[in-house]
């Protein structure tokens, strides 16, 4: 019995090791000034492939099942669909005039694409890759995310200085909430039922209570901030400050700044690695990605990617 149990443990250990060796997390970095996506293998922090996409690729969103990565190309009005096995573009979908920010329903069935020039959100059916719905939002939609139950889209509209709560099926506007000046990135904190909205020109973050659709707080960051990500374990928020070339680390409860981390020039896209141990930050001006250790809050690596690395959205997949 004991021997059999030991064997079982060995088998389990072997299976775990084999799996971890096979597991390969990939980061897809849109390079806006060279029309490519750099694929980084996060295990050895190197670019394993550079994929040609559309023109001026900016936004990115990985599917929850890790099978597809969608890239928005405002330069030629299309969304490129990358399959994560072949690391090739398998489909290009024509969308609007300037598709930028994107989000997916949690079942991966609907891709919502905000169009900067048309002030419209397009719904793309991810089975047929066809546009199945569209509805008007505010002026210059810059950021979009979705509620945990997929019923509501939250859309930041840069020129309205406001966030809209929009029914994801009917497009009906449920609330409009005034935020700071020139909102861009919008990040849900599902545990706390909050939204963090980064205001580029007022250089602060507005905190919105989702249930009551009300602003409950705001806190300052640095010059030209873009996006928030959350570290639930250490209770931190991270905000990229494009024209300070830094990331602000902020306490998720008190909203006090804990530290400022200098990264490459003009950081924008930022993601938590699936293991929670590091952050990936795309530096637009340098064409690099800085890796930050979430424990020490120091930059540990800088990876060369491509011209104009932006990675605006959810860009890491887990396999």
């Amino acid at each position: 019995m004991e021997v059999r149990f030991k064997n079982f443990l060995f088998t389990l250990l072997f299976w775990a090791l084999a799996n971890s060796a096979l597991a390969q997390n990939l980061a897809f970095i849109t390079n806006q000034l060279e029309n490519t996506v750099s694929v980084i293998d996060t295990a050895n922090k190197s670019v394993i492939k550079t994929i040609e996409v559309g023109i001026k690729p900016a936004g990115v969103v990985a599917s929850f099942d890790n099978e597809y990565v969608y890239v928005s190309n405002p330069g030629n009005q299309e969304v490129s669909v990358i399959h994560t096995d072949s690391l090739a573009v398998v489909k290009s979908i024509k969308v609007g005039q300037a598709p930028l920010a994107m989000t997916l329903s949690h079942d991966d069935k609907k891709l919502f694409v905000a169009d900067w020039h048309m002030d419209t959100v397009f719904t793309i059916n991810t089975q047929s890759f066809e546009i199945e719905n569209e509805f008007p939002v505010g002026d210059a939609p810059s950021g979009i995310t979705i509620s945990n139950d997929d019923k509501t889209l939250f859309v930041a509209n840069k020129k309205d200085n406001a966030v809209l709560f929009v029914d994801s099926t009917s497009g009906k506007i449920k609330s409009e909430i005034k935020v700071g000046k020139a909102p861009f990135g919008i990040t849900p904190d599902y545990d706390k039922h909050l939204l963090y909205v980064v205001n580029v020109q007022s250089e602060d973050v507005t905190v919105i209570d989702i249930k009551n659709a009300k602003v409950i707080n705001s806190f300052p960051v640095d010059t030209f901030p873009y996006i928030v990500v959350i570290d639930e374990v250490r209770n931190h928020l991270f905000v990229t400050n494009k024209r300070d070339s830094s990331v602000s680390v902020v306490d998720r409860t008190s909203y006090e700044e804990i530290k400022k981390i200098y990264v490459g020039e003009m950081p924008e896209g930022i993601n938590m690695h699936p293991d929670g141990q590091s952050l990936y930050v795309a530096n637009w001006f340098d064409g690099t990605v800085s890796v930050i250790d979430t424990n020490t809050l120091e930059v540990t690596e800088t990876i060369e990617t491509g011209e104009g690395s932006r990675a605006y959205g959810q860009f890491i997949i887990e396999r």
């Binding site: 000034l33 405002p74 009005q77 300070d244 104009g308």
Partner: protein, 177 residues
């Protein structure tokens, strides 16, 4: 007190400046070596109208204040006036950020951008200094088919031409000192 109230009111009444940032910024990245110490160059850079001595396309310059929040108005040889604000000063990195905003709808003759953020930095290099002008600008054209004189490429070329004149002028200026 009344005066303060009045100024606050007047600020509120100024029509909103163009605050749009389309999806794709343009990048510029230029540098030059000059024969002066970084400290000397840096102190000149902080006098906002020094640029008039360097850039032959700038015919007039007026400024208010120094450091963060200061403004300068540059008149170009084609009659255009550019108003820039100092939005960041990093003494430790010898780096200053000036931000140009263009009122909504106005198209600057010869340089059709609607906003620009320009970092000028000074670093040690050999026995002299290296000056970099780097930053981002946004085309004033919104939509997918700009006319040829308002494309991203046209904007980038115009912005680079302006900054190149500043850098070349700096080189000459410090050489002849």
């Amino acid at each position: 007190m009344n005066y303060i109230k009045l100024s606050l009111l007047s600020i509120l009444l100024i029509p909103a400046l163009a605050s749009a940032h389309g999806p794709t910024p343009l990048k510029f990245d230029l540098e030059v070596e000059v024969s002066a110490s970084p400290d000397e160059v840096w102190s000149m850079v902080n006098k906002l109208c020094s640029v008039k001595d360097w850039n032959e396309s700038i015919t007039e310059c007026s400024s208010t204040g120094e450091g963060l929040g200061a403004f300068r108005e540059l008149t170009l040889d084609n009659g255009e006036v550019l108003k820039e604000e100092v939005t960041k000063v990093q003494e430790d990195r010898k780096r200053i950020l000036t931000t140009l905003k263009v009122e909504g709808g106005r198209v600057i003759k010869g340089m059709p951008i609607r906003s620009m953020g320009t970092f000028l930095s000074v670093a040690e290099s050999g026995s002299g200094a290296k000056v970099k002008i780097r930053g981002t600008a946004y085309s004033s054209f919104e939509g997918k088919s700009p006319p040829p004189d308002r494309t991203d490429a046209a904007c980038k070329a115009a912005v680079e031409a302006l900054h190149t004149k500043t850098l070349n002028g700096m080189k000459k200026y410090f050489e002849s000192k």
